[in-house]
Symmetry: C2
Subunit: 183 residues, 2 copies
């Protein structure tokens, strides 16, 4: 959702800010609405030789999961720069062929934007540089393997998974696959 | 995610609470982690004569959307009681045949649990009772129509949509459909 400009910030934390505002309802009465705002995130579909790069991840206090590479956009950072930084930190990789595939908005009472990028023809130029709150083991999977992982509960990126599975359901997945890999 | 019991509540709003705690990282250092907690929600797959009941919804300050019936569990309320209350308020319906299909946990830095119920053989016994922040037009759709709507961006319940589309991809959707409708 979009928090209206007139909303008042009632809490500012390290990750979340909370806003409240007076909202007019359908009958003309008003109520106090509340929503949180988070920094945007980026997800990267990094491809190398017909394979997609995924991360098997552990983070302190969470169940292990598997996901696309990516992370939180730093304050003042451009989303593309964040995607390039995360690809380099998490996989030691760079690409000369980036494309913004789409964005997702959070549906509930959170203002949050997610940018999904394709990074084609990635190459390794560096070691992983993880911080002390990350463990990431890279996996290189075929598109069919990716679809099976996306269909499982262990895959973390629900919006992106739904997107790929929807396109399979609607019969437009081959087109999307060509876009991801750059034919 | 699960907020650890030792976490401190640093903000309490009308919908969100924010918690912070000292988290040990993989190298033995620590960092302050932050997460929000929300009341759990319920979603209801209400069926009548081989059709699923959906709501075309408008809420103040949001884009119109289409979703399953449901809403937020009141403090102290049992999830099943909340599902029964929401079905009655939003559709004027009751059912004698309820089943908890599954739960979903939020993946990110939010502690939030979503209960998905099937309510089979629903019947109308009352008017809608909406509050001033809701407009809901009921739609009765076939299972195939439901799958098409779930595959679209206008459908609000991303976790549930991904679940159905995954089962279609994995070839187990007919079984799931029988569970939803009670064969």
């Amino acid at each position: 959702m979009k928090i209206p400009p007139k909303a008042k910030r009632v809490f500012e934390g390290t990750v979340f800010s909370v806003y409240q505002w007076e909202q007019e309802l359908f009958d003309g009465s008003t109520a106090v609405f509340e929503a949180t705002r988070r920094q945007p995130s980026v997800q990267v579909i990094a491809t190398v030789d017909g394979k997609i790069v995924l991360g098997e991840q552990e983070q302190p206090g969470r169940k292990p999961f598997i996901s696309l590479l990516g992370g939180v956009v730093d304050p003042g950072e451009e989303p593309l720069a964040a995607a390039q930084r995360e690809l380099r930190e998490e996989a030691g990789m760079v690409s000369d062929d980036w494309e913004l595939i789409r964005t997702y908005e959070a549906p509930g009472r959170t203002e949050f934007l997610l940018y999904l990028y394709a990074a084609r023809g990635c190459r390794v130029v560096d070691e992983q540089h993880l911080d002390a709150g990350e463990k990431i083991v890279l996996q290189y999977v075929t598109f069919d393997e990716f679809m099976l992982i996306a269909a499982s509960d262990a895959f973390r990126n629900v919006d992106t998974a739904k997107d790929f599975l929807s396109k399979h359901y609607l019969g437009t997945i081959e087109e999307y696959k060509r876009k991801i890999f750059g034919k």
